[in-house]
């Protein structure tokens, strides 16, 4: 075990999994014995293959799911103690398919949470313009557009702006760049990294892409078949001798090698 995992009970932990388990009503265990803590301001990547339980872990944080055993704490309170609506408005949520409302303009989509929180109209408008600029979309051109008039990358930017709208301290992202072509993905990823360094949010990102995990994460939590295999800094991960981690690294090396070939 590494130094990072020992900081599991660090006092500045904003999200904490304590022996959390999630089991489907049919008895299938999707997550088991998860102990993990996320420090304020860090970017934790949940890495694992499809079906490893990454998305389930994410949904336990904003209470789209309740743990069937153990607990998940956000800001010191268990998610079950939180009012789910208050908890979710406290946490930004970005998903791969964006989930933008097709009948809302870009402006209305981004303004969603501030409106739900009953911000004054003028303030909402200012915030929307600010956010679109932040994610690299020209407000003048994009405010009035509908999601179907946007490219995949633009949609993902709007999804990010919407998640950030009410300035939540925590941001959850479920394969946010997964549906994008490699070039756009690289661009947005780099921009997001720069953005994250400015905003200092606590971010939990789900991905199955090792390169993405190493680029964005301050720490990597490796999940396999519902169990946490280890938590590493990017450097530790690259040097790890554990077979699971090694498998991811060799896959990464292979991609790099093929990409370098003429």
């Amino acid at each position: 075990m590494t130094a990072e995992t020992e900081s599991a009970s660090a006092p500045d932990a904003i999200i904490e999994f304590r022996d959390a388990r999630y089991e489907l009503p049919g008895g299938q265990v999707l997550l088991n014995h998860i102990n993990l803590s996320v420090a304020r301001g860090e970017t934790l990547v949940l890495l694992g293959r499809s079906g490893a339980g990454k998305t389930t872990a994410l949904k336990l944080i904003n209470r789209l799911l309740d743990p069937t055993a153990g607990e998940v704490r956000v800001d010191g309170k268990t998610t079950v103690q939180w009012d789910p609506i208050a908890l979710r408005r406290h946490i930004g949520y970005v998903i791969q398919e964006t989930g933008l409302f097709p009948h809302y303009t870009v402006e209305q989509n981004v303004a969603l949470v501030p409106r739900l929180e009953r911000w004054p109209g003028g303030q909402v408008r200012t915030r929307v313009v600010e956010l679109l600029t932040l994610v690299g979309l020209d407000p003048v051109r994009f405010l009035g557009r509908y999601p179907h008039e946007l490219s995949g990358g633009q949609r993902q930017r709007v999804g990010l702006a919407r998640a950030l709208a009410a300035d939540p301290p925590i941001l959850l992202m479920d394969e946010p760049f997964g549906a994008l072509d490699p070039l756009t993905r690289g661009e947005i990823r780099a921009e997001f990294r720069a953005l994250e360094q400015r905003l200092r949010k606590t971010v939990v990102i789900v991905t199955h892409d090792t390169g993405e995990a190493l680029e964005l994460g301050t720490r990597l939590a490796l999940l396999e078949a519902g169990e946490l295999r280890g938590v590493y800094s990017p450097k530790e991960f690259l040097q790890s001798n554990e077979p699971v981690a090694a498998a991811y690294i060799s896959q990464l090396r292979m991609v790099e090698k093929t990409e370098r070939q003429p």
Binding site: N62, L64, P84, I85, A86, L87, R88, R89, I91, Y93, I95, Q96, E97, T98, G99, L100, F101, P102, H103, L112, V113, L116, Y146, P147, H148, G159, R162, A163, L172
Partner: protein
């Protein structure tokens, strides 16, 4: 007597019957929407209620209309007035397409959109009013359109229990073996059905969510 001559002679009566007919259809549709849309929402939200709700509506749909009017006749409050009876029976028929399309519209909302709405901290009723209903509106309207056209047709049969409307001419013509009289009921009914179809169809196209158009 030729059809045109009959129309010319009885236009006043035909207009009267058309208005009665329209009134039956409008009241029926208002009731059917008021009952069918909430039932459809319920069936979409609670899957265990979906079968009983859709099943009952399906059964109502299979009862022959004349028989249904007969069944309702002995009921105390309903049987007392012909128009009440007719509207109750017509409403039962109109329910199925409305319920079915409401269910289809709501369950057809992109799961990612619903998940995002939940993850964003919208309450159940906010999701219903701001996301699910606006996005399924054109589908629900398509159901209302089918139900309206259906009701215009079945309402002619309601004349059998004395509720008035264009069916009066049809039954009278049948009794008299006079095609002109039958057509005096059938043609306006067909025109009503076509007009309803056209108007609701235009509305539906206009309200279709932007992403689908």
């Amino acid at each position: 007597m030729s059809v045109t001559a009959y129309f010319a002679q009885h236009w006043n009566e035909i207009l009267q019957a058309t208005i009665e007919h329209l009134w039956l259809v409008v009241i029926t549709m208002l009731l059917a929407c008021a009952i069918g849309i909430p039932l459809g929402i319920l069936a979409a939200r609670k899957p265990w209620l979906s079968k009983p709700i859709l099943g009952s509506a399906n059964v109502a749909e299979t009862i022959p209309s004349l028989a249904l009017f007969g069944f309702l006749l002995p009921l105390p409050w309903l049987g007392a007035r012909a128009d009440r009876l007719a509207i109750a029976a017509l409403t039962l028929y109109a329910l199925l397409p409305i319920i079915r399309n409401t269910v289809a519209g709501i369950t057809g909302v992109d799961p990612a959109v619903r998940e995002a709405a939940r993850g964003m901290g919208m309450t159940g009723s906010q999701i219903l009013w701001r996301v699910e209903l606006p996005l399924s509106f054109s589908t629900i309207l398509a159901g209302i359109r089918v139900a309206t056209v259906l009701t215009v047709g079945i309402a002619t049969i309601a004349a059998a229990v004395g509720s008035g409307g264009l069916g009066e001419f049809i039954f009278r013509g049948l009794a008299m073996v006079n095609n002109a009289v039958i057509l005096a009921g059938a043609i306006p009914a067909a025109v009503l059905a076509l007009l309803a179809d056209l108007v609701l169809g235009l509305l539906e196209r206009r309200l279709r969510p932007a992403s689908a158009g």
